[in-house]
């Protein structure tokens, strides 16, 4: 630390620390100019740590996400920032999809932030929600834990999104529809798979085991999954990818294998790609407003914080963000893959 404290400033000017403190808080003080000078000359900066300790408030909100490099999570943060206002600084922390790290981070955050917006790594983990009992307001976003009904949350309508995609393909005439979803122990992984299977069921299309692939939300996972589907003895005529990264990976695989879109295979991505306009054909996608989700989470968190401060009762908020399908050029009626195009 700097070493220079409020006491140094006070001594320099010849007043008490209280006076300096008052000046800092905007009160009217006789020697305000002298104090200001002293502060500049000494390079004095109030210690946030000491302030936090004294006030109990930190003016900071942390957003903890599994993958900081995913534009979706970055957008959550920027959305949250728009709502945070002057009172709160928001900082983004990466759990890197490692559970021990998430746990450690939450622990270290305690006493450092006024609240947390969290995208928990696993549904079957009480750690994060338990954490809120430690007195720290927490809002789940994009993902929840099993006991999340007792906590605030903002989810997207995953089931509807996957269903929209599936039904769109069915309406085009597809019967052999595959889905590359994320880990089933995550909320979006599970619910998107659910939307897919429920749509098939409703249309009386039997679910083929090999068409539902549980991957990992990464580009590499999307690539590998798509390769696997292409190698299927009875390959699908359409594929739904469970998130943006997996869409990219899947598209890479298709390009590499020279499978034409949508002639040979149709594809729909869950989540739009921000360069959709640059690829040919454009990717039909399930769209949700990223920033809106972050903004909503922050709104709920701030409400929760002030409820806590004023000791007001406030039942858990469960916000669900709507989705819709954006049609571009990546879907067409099925014509069948060139049989066994693999060597």
């Amino acid at each position: 630390m700097s070493g220079v404290t409020i006491t140094d400033v006070a001594q320099r000017v010849g007043v008490s620390v209280a006076t300096v403190s008052r000046y800092l808080s905007g009160f009217n003080v006789r020697q305000r100019d002298e104090i200001e000078n002293a502060i500049h000359e000494l390079n004095y900066r109030p210690s946030a740590a000491a302030r936090n300790l004294k006030s109990g408030r930190t003016g900071t909100i942390a957003i903890v996400v599994p993958d900081i490099s995913n534009p979706f999570f970055a957008a959550i943060a920027t959305g949250a920032e728009t709502v945070a206002g002057e009172e709160h600084m928001v900082m983004l922390v990466n759990s890197g999809a490692i559970r021990e790290r998430e746990e450690k981070i939450l622990g270290e955050l305690f006493g450092r932030v006024d609240g947390v917006i969290l995208s928990p790594l696993q549904e079957d983990d009480e750690g994060p929600s338990f954490f809120s009992k430690y007195g720290l307001p927490i809002v789940f976003v994009d993902r929840i834990t099993a006991d999340a009904e007792k906590f605030d949350s903002v989810l997207v309508d995953n089931v509807k999104g996957a269903r929209l995609a599936t039904e769109h393909l069915i309406q085009l005439g597809h019967q052999k529809i595959a889905m590359i979803t994320g880990p089933l122990h995550t909320t979006p992984g599970r619910l998107r798979a659910e939307g897919y299977t429920s749509a098939l069921r409703k249309q009386k299309i039997a679910l083929q085991e090999s068409y539902l692939i549980e991957s990992d939300f990464t580009r590499e996972g999307g690539y590998a999954s798509m390769v696997k589907l292409l190698e299927d003895p009875n390959p699908p005529t359409a594929v739904i990818t469970g998130n943006n990264f997996m869409s990219i990976g899947a598209l890479e695989a298709l390009k590499e294998k020279r499978v034409r879109i949508p002639d040979d295979i149709s594809i729909i991505g869950f989540d739009d790609l921000d360069f959709s306009t640059l690829i040919e054909p454009g990717l039909t996608a399930v769209f949700r407003h990223f920033e809106a989700q972050g903004a909503e989470a922050m709104r709920i968190l701030l409400a929760r914080i002030s409820a806590l401060a004023t000791n007001t009762e406030l039942s858990p908020q469960h916000s669900v963000v709507d989705v819709h399908l954006i049609e571009r050029g990546s879907c067409a009626p099925p014509t069948g893959l060139p049989a066994q195009s693999k060597s």
Copy 2:
């Protein structure tokens, strides 16, 4: 806050706070089991604020960047994380390219972090570097301030990158080469323009004013700049875009105006796009290793922190990351734009 403190735990067990504190620090204590139980039952969590205040250490590093949604800066953060180790939690804060926010953030960070990795908004601003005199170690990354020679920094070889791009185009036979760069008050904006002009100079190609466009590192800026170039009465046959977002915008403009790449115009991007493989033709680009830059910055910062702790002298480190050109399909010898293709 939780309200439950170390005192509560101590009372519950019937020991002194000192004993509980010792247990927390890993010392051997007689009633360790009882203490552990009490901690669990009471949901006790040590307050980071109090610890910070007492120890002067926070175990936290902040990375402050102008645009959290730019994959480059996200990569800086993940790169830094790989080096941070167990001792330090890293958090990302978005200045949003707003100077007042950057200033406020730096102020609030004081006393909350052990060091800062910063991408400052403007070169002509002493605020950030001055900040380090407040006692907080700071490492500049990607951008520096005017007085930065006195501080640690990690830059990419911007001049070389822009020169490589320019020379590549010249070698292909281009004479009418344009550059869309970022704000000239930022380091990359300025130096990339410099590399471009110096390469032209060396090859005795006169710089045409209208070919050097100062834009703003955004997609919209890239788009608008490219449109402007296309509308030039004497349009360029090749364009270099100054960052990833502007590349996307420029490509959008070209696609929209049906200008063919590389037949009608050649284009090189500064910074690779992570979906380069998906667009046709692939974008020739100046490549630099994002994560390596973040990792290097963290390495230097940690060294600085420990030098400060041990009172060791350590002269400012200036690390420059190398770049190279990745050739894909977006460049070809000039054939001239279809004259005045604009309506």
